[in-house]
Symmetry: C2
């Protein structure tokens, strides 16, 4: 069976970079943004739209019975969110079946649980996440500390809700991972070299 490494990560923690470097070090395939691109191709939706869907838990819209009618009210947004999630589910399984790989985000740890992936969660202190965001993006540079903190928290809350909605598990809850890495005081290259030794 292929070796699969999944990476859950707080926004701003460097989890994506850690994943990419680990894939390079181990010569594993690396999937992150590639998943969105392929999903967009398969569903004929725009990448931006797919990105939005897979970063937000769909609003629950259960069938509503009106009077004696048994016709459910169909919510097209909900249906589309589910369809994209299902396609993503299939896609991630295909990727994991194809070769050794590192998959960032997208509930891959949960989706691939039968393959016993090595599950990493990457996190950091807020000051460290802010610094990293500002190093990487002009948007973050233009924000005040308060705005950036809220921006980071908003994205992470979205990730947590999405993960919990589809997996029924706590995002970042230590028992759902084999290794949780705090990047605040660590050098990413050294961490990657250490983790690579496990494979």
């Amino acid at each position: 069976m292929n070796r699969i490494i999944t990476i859950g990560r707080e926004f701003g923690s460097g989890g994506r970079e850690l994943g990419r470097r680990l894939a390079d070090a181990l010569q594993f395939a690396y999937y992150d943004r590639e998943i969105i691109t392929e999903l967009a191709r398969r569903t004929s939706l725009s990448e931006e739209y797919v990105q939005r869907i897979v970063e937000h838990r769909p609003t629950a819209a259960f069938p509503i019975h009106v009077g004696r009618s048994f016709y459910p009210m169909v919510n097209p947004m909900w249906e589309q969110g589910q369809a994209v999630y299902q396609e993503q589910h299939r896609l991630i399984k295909e990727m994991a079946a194809a070769s050794n790989c590192v998959i960032v985000g997208r509930c891959a740890d949960y989706i691939l649980r039968d393959m016993r992936p090595f599950r990493i969660f990457v996190y950091a202190e807020m000051a460290s996440k802010m610094r990293r965001c500002r190093e990487k993006g002009e948007d973050a540079k233009a924000m005040s500390d308060k705005e950036l903190t809220q921006h980071i928290n908003d994205i992470n809350r979205g990730r947590a809700k999405y993960y919990e909605f589809y997996s029924g598990q706590e995002w970042g809850g230590r028992l759902n991972y084999d290794l949780c890495v705090n990047t605040t005081q660590l050098d990413l290259a050294e961490v990657v070299a250490a983790i690579a030794k496990l494979f």
Copy 2:
């Protein structure tokens, strides 16, 4: 400054063994039971008694004012608990100042925070902790699953309370550690070799 590694660990997770192997691999001093022995020597209390004190949060007994009296009610158990904790605090600082070392438990991550120790938390799924306990001890072998689960949970609750009482931080809360290691599916020797690469 010396390199310090602190290990917080769930009872039954193999954290002590991980710490000892890591100290061996790095040729660092290793402190665990040694702390109790030295504390007993310094305080002239029995090792068993010291062990009990340092594994339980002292019952808070704040001064009680009776009528107009300003005399606090003194609780000798509380005083002794505090004295032992303070002696332990001094001892851990001495150990950290003496050489590179691995220190297991005892709030060492918090006590030595100014020395920026590398803080590891070791945990595992309950079934794994039960298996490990039964491999190591006759007491655990004699217990039913329910009894052993309760025994493990009791000890871990004690550790959590002790840590939170003295540090004001959450025991096992990921932000208080640099690395959290789930030993359920990992080989301790491999984990130790990987972590040793960071030093």
